[in-house]
């Protein structure tokens, strides 16, 4: 039972269809108290649908959801011990900011004075203590976002659901709010389920990330885990950048890279661009032992800000390499180079790949 005590939200084998369209398929996910979990995935993969199922706005076709050990699958939204920050904030336009935030306590039995005291507390927490008398329409986007947050945490739920809460903000504000939101989450100790399709945001904020694709969870893990050891081809390509290389084992168990023409049916290894080294000639490559080397030529060199992306064509594969700073002299398009890869940096995807 000790393990069960820690689990705050347990999602078991949830499926949801919209007509013939399968929006969610066999989703299972467990979230612990105080944990920050991001749902990350491309548009239309079912993130919002999953969130709405947890909140109770949708009913699942199959499966169960329990919160703090209680099965809430059949409960209506207002009886579930969680709160939501909506994507468009959904602030009540006819109520002042203070009344918006006091709405939760008022509806759950707090008196007028008690409710407004708690609302003031929550507004102070998000730095909007002075703005209680305004109406939502008199606030900027970032301020409205904070009001929505204050309104959602005022009842001190154990679990907060956030559907792309920062997507309407400009980049600067967004970065700042990411930090503030994370700090707030740690301070109040509420578990967050945070929907985003921005992987940097997910990486920067989450304890764990659930990567979703086409109604399924492909992998759940820390940012480092899903980056270093992606479970599927989709995760490898969706998170960060990667070159996918077909490989085979030679007699002595060492890995070799298979040319593109013989690729079908092989296992696939994931190579991150920072792990692909580029040498001027074979001699340089063999100075460091144990490197897999491939001859090729530079196809594209592109500098963006502090990094340079180099695409090398070798064995028919287009391999992506990255260097910090501007590219060293002599690396031109069309130039012959040798790629060196430490086999330890190759992550093999499990199972046969198409």
């Amino acid at each position: 039972m000790a393990g069960a005590d820690m689990t705050l939200l347990a999602i078991d084998d949830i499926s949801k269809n919209f007509g013939k369209h399968q929006a969610l398929c066999d989703i299972s996910l467990a979230i612990e108290s105080g944990e920050f979990v991001s749902l990350l995935g491309p548009s239309g993969c079912g993130k919002t649908t999953l969130l709405r199922l947890i909140a109770g706005f949708l009913r699942a076709d199959r499966g169960t959801i329990s919160i703090a050990g209680e099965d809430v699958t059949g409960l209506p939204p207002h009886r579930r011990p969680l709160n939501t920050v909506f994507q468009n904030y959904a602030l009540f336009p006819h109520l002042t900011v203070a009344d918006n935030v006091a709405y939760g306590p008022r509806r759950t039995g707090a008196g007028k004075a008690e409710a407004s005291r708690r609302a003031q507390e929550a507004l102070d927490l998000v730095g909007l203590g002075e703005f209680g008398d305004r109406y939502p329409r008199q606030m900027s986007g970032g301020q409205q976002q904070r009001v929505a947050l204050a309104r959602a945490i005022v009842n001190r739920p154990k679990l907060l659901l956030l559907d792309e809460p920062l997507s309407a903000l400009d980049l600067q504000l967004r970065k700042r709010m990411q930090i503030e939101l994370k700090q707030l989450q740690e301070k109040i100790g509420i578990a967050f389920v945070f929907v985003t399709h921005d992987q940097e945001e997910a990486m920067a904020m989450s304890d764990r990330i659930a990567v979703m694709n086409a109604g399924r969870i492909e992998q759940v893990g820390t940012g480092a885990e899903i980056y270093r050891r992606p479970a599927t081809r989709f995760v490898a390509e969706f998170i960060g950048e990667a070159s996918l290389l077909p490989v085979q084992r030679t007699g002595n168990g060492a890995l070799t890279i298979v040319p593109a023409v013989e690729a079908s049916g092989r296992s696939v290894a994931v190579l991150r661009p920072e792990h692909a080294q580029i040498f001027a000639g074979q001699a340089d490559a063999s100075t460091s032992c144990n490197l897999l080397s491939m001859e090729g030529h530079v196809e594209t060199v592109a500098s963006i800000g502090g990094v340079t992306n180099i695409y090398v064509r070798a064995l028919g594969h287009l391999v992506h390499a990255r260097r910090l700073g501007l590219v060293e002299s002599g690396l031109r398009e069309g130039q012959k180079v040798v790629l060196g890869i430490d086999p330890q940096n190759l992550h093999l995807l499990e199972g046969p790949q198409p």
Binding site: P77, F86, A90, L91, F92, H94, R107, N155
Partner: protein
């Protein structure tokens, strides 16, 4: 520069001309007539004095506005659930469309025809009385024709679509995510309705009320037909003066009285609702 100035002048002048031609001039004509003496010409308040210093006229005003207020209230009470049903309950689009068509279809037929219809239905041996008697609810037929109740039924029937449409419109505009946010914060459905949906639909209720009230107090055909000459409202008096007595001065004063009282009522109502919102 001069070209754009003339364009701007035109843009300002056009609506002005429009309002002057269609609203101000007719109104001023009536207003001036109401202040002119019928025999000698020249300015006088005697037309108004004749109305406001006379008990009969006050009783007509009272009947008119009692009918207006009751019609508005009943229309809101009946129209709100109907609008709710159309906007929120009906999921099947075709059925909703059919309902809306059924609702507005009567508006395309003549007021006179529909009022005559009610005369038949509400008569001594009309369908309403027969049904009530057959159901054992009443022993002798109720007299509807020639009573305020009869007129009220007719007015409510004719004006109900306006309320349903304005309230339905307002309800459709209430963002669903606001109701979800309310539920998320712990409010039951009933609580969500009272604290979110209903307050946000009030603009529709107010505009519907104003339309219905204005149309009810100025209605002529329905009260004239259903009253059987026994109940008189202001619009009927006005019509008599203009069409049979040809006293445009006294008739004009009656019309202006109706207008002023209507505006006064609407002003009071909006003041009350604004104070209530505090």
């Amino acid at each position: 520069m001069t070209a754009s100035r003339s364009v701007i002048l035109g843009l300002v002048a056009l609506p002005l001309v429009y309002f002057t031609a269609f609203f101000l001039v007719p109104l001023m004509t009536v207003f001036v007539a109401s202040l002119t003496d019928a025999q000698q010409g020249g300015m006088t308040f005697s037309n108004y004095a004749r109305i406001l210093l006379d008990e009969y006229h006050w009783s007509v005003i009272a009947v008119t506005f009692r009918l207006g207020i009751l019609t508005t209230l009943i229309c809101i009470v009946l129209g709100y659930p109907l609008a709710w049903y159309l906007v929120r309950i009906v999921k099947w689009r075709t059925w909703r469309r059919i309902c809306v068509i059924l609702l507005v279809l009567p508006l395309f037929t003549s007021n006179i025809v529909r009022s005559f219809g009610w005369m038949v239905l509400l008569g001594r041996n009309g369908l309403v009385n027969e049904t009530l008697q057959a159901g054992g609810l009443i022993e002798r037929p109720i007299r509807f024709l020639g009573t305020e109740t009869g007129i009220l039924i007719g007015l409510v029937y004719i004006l109900l679509p306006f309320v349903v449409l304005t309230i339905g419109n307002a309800l459709a505009k209430v963002d669903h995510s606001l109701e979800q946010a309310s539920a998320d914060l712990g409010a039951s459905s009933a609580s969500t309705f009272w604290h979110v949906t209903f307050p946000l639909s009030i603009p529709g209720v107010v505009s519907g009320s104003i339309i219905v009230f204005a149309l009810a107090v100025s209605a002529y055909v329905t009260p004239a037909l259903l009253s059987g000459g026994r109940v008189t409202v202001l619009a009927v008096l006005v019509f008599q003066q203009y069409s049979s007595v040809f006293n445009f001065h006294y008739g004009g004063a009656l019309a202006i009285t109706l207008l002023v009282f209507t505006l006064l009522m609407i002003a009071i109502a909006s003041l009350v609702s604004r104070l209530g919102a505090r």
